[in-house]
Amino acid sequence: MPDGQSQNPIRTDVTIVGAGPCGLFAVFELGLLDIKCHLVDILDRPGGQCAELYPEKPIYDIPAVPICTGQELTDKLMEQIAPFDPVFHFGQMATALSKTEDGWWRLTTDMDTVIESKVIVIAAGGGSFMPKKPPIKDIDAFEDTSVFYAVRQMEKFRGKHLVIAGGGDSALDWTVNLQPLAASLTLVHRRDDFRAAPDTVNKMRQLVASGGMTLEIAQISGLEGSDGQLTGVVLKDKDKGEWSIPCDMLLPFYGLTMKLGPVAEFGLNLNENLIPVDTEKFQTSTEGIFAIGDINTYPGKLKLILSGFHEAALMSQAAHRIVHPDRKLRFQYTTSSTDLQQKLGVA
């Protein structure tokens, strides 16, 4: 049985929920104190908001780094924490947290990975990135039967009348990939201009030209069907008005949005979807569970990456007392400590 299943959980010192900049830097601060980390993140790569929302946008307020992009910051942090061999569990959402009989925190993900650790650090930013759901009446009733926000098995869509909505890479990639399987495919986008990779856009236009699919410049305004089964979608355009097209399955791709998600069920005190912490340890209402970065709140809180870095450093001091209760905490500088430099692999 592979590691990390319920019968054979991973055991480590600290589990970090969220691999954004604060979660990543926590690996560094904990690593200097001989604390090993596993990280869980719903995205398929590190960086959190820096990777998902603004990988190419400049950040000017990282101390001593006059300018870097979200992606560059992520890459530099990954380089900085590499000596500590963090273990990442990407594409997974932390769904449940409980305590074992022998006092470990047991965190379970939606992929059934089970990690047991002495300390939990919640560095989940604005929450989990989840697909944006169109605010269309009754769409909930069709989700998972006729409306899908991701493609897990292409075969599910074979022989169906598909409608894909959106103008980015996800919409265009799936348009091109699912078109050969579908009974019919219509791409719906609000304008005849696409953000997706030009190559994919060209392929889509060729399919339209050869009659292999339809492109509708419109927006979805309603759904038709019953008992979870779509029969059509209603489109609208300011000049053409409203009309409906046949549809068995709808795939809306409008990007991701952040939702607090299952962290809300972890039994922690919450204040308007933020987790209150003290400013000595950045500990939550539950001993052994810490919260750092955008997801926490305390008097004077600023949602800045640099604040999250500071929080990671202080949290690590407190985590050390839990993970290594028998060891005396020694305050050292990386500049002068041979011990720390050996951990970093530079001495």
Binding site: L53, Y54, P135, G166, H189, R191, Q219, T257
Partner: protein, 102 residues
């Protein structure tokens, strides 16, 4: 200077506008429900508003990047804007916007 905001339930709010603030920031500062997830980086489309038709000529037109990002919004109309891309000043005193559905 005033900014008039209609929320998603139709409630009307008169906010004090501040020169140099983005319209999104004025709305957020008043505690109205605007996600503005990316914090004003024109990277998410969660600060989508409709500008009242009588004001559409008075606000600066959409930028290309803003127009791209509106692809991630719903029910986009001709008067759709990302409110983080509208800088408030005297010329917009009295501006009326409506929060878009989310």
């Amino acid at each position: 200077m005033k900014l008039h905001v209609t929320d998603r339930e139709g409630g009307e709010h008169e906010l004090e506008g501040t020169k140099g603030w983005r319209v999104m920031e004025i709305i957020r500062d008043a505690g109205l429900p605007i996600a503005a997830e990316c914090g004003g980086a024109c990277a998410c489309a969660t600060c989508h508003v409709y500008v009242d038709p009588e004001w559409t000529d008075k606000v600066e037109p959409r930028g290309e990047e803003e127009n791209d990002m509106l692809d991630l919004a719903f029910d986009v109309q001709e008067n759709s804007r990302l409110s983080c891309q509208i800088l408030f000043d005297e010329s917009l005193d009295g501006l009326k916007v409506t929060l878009a559905p989310e």
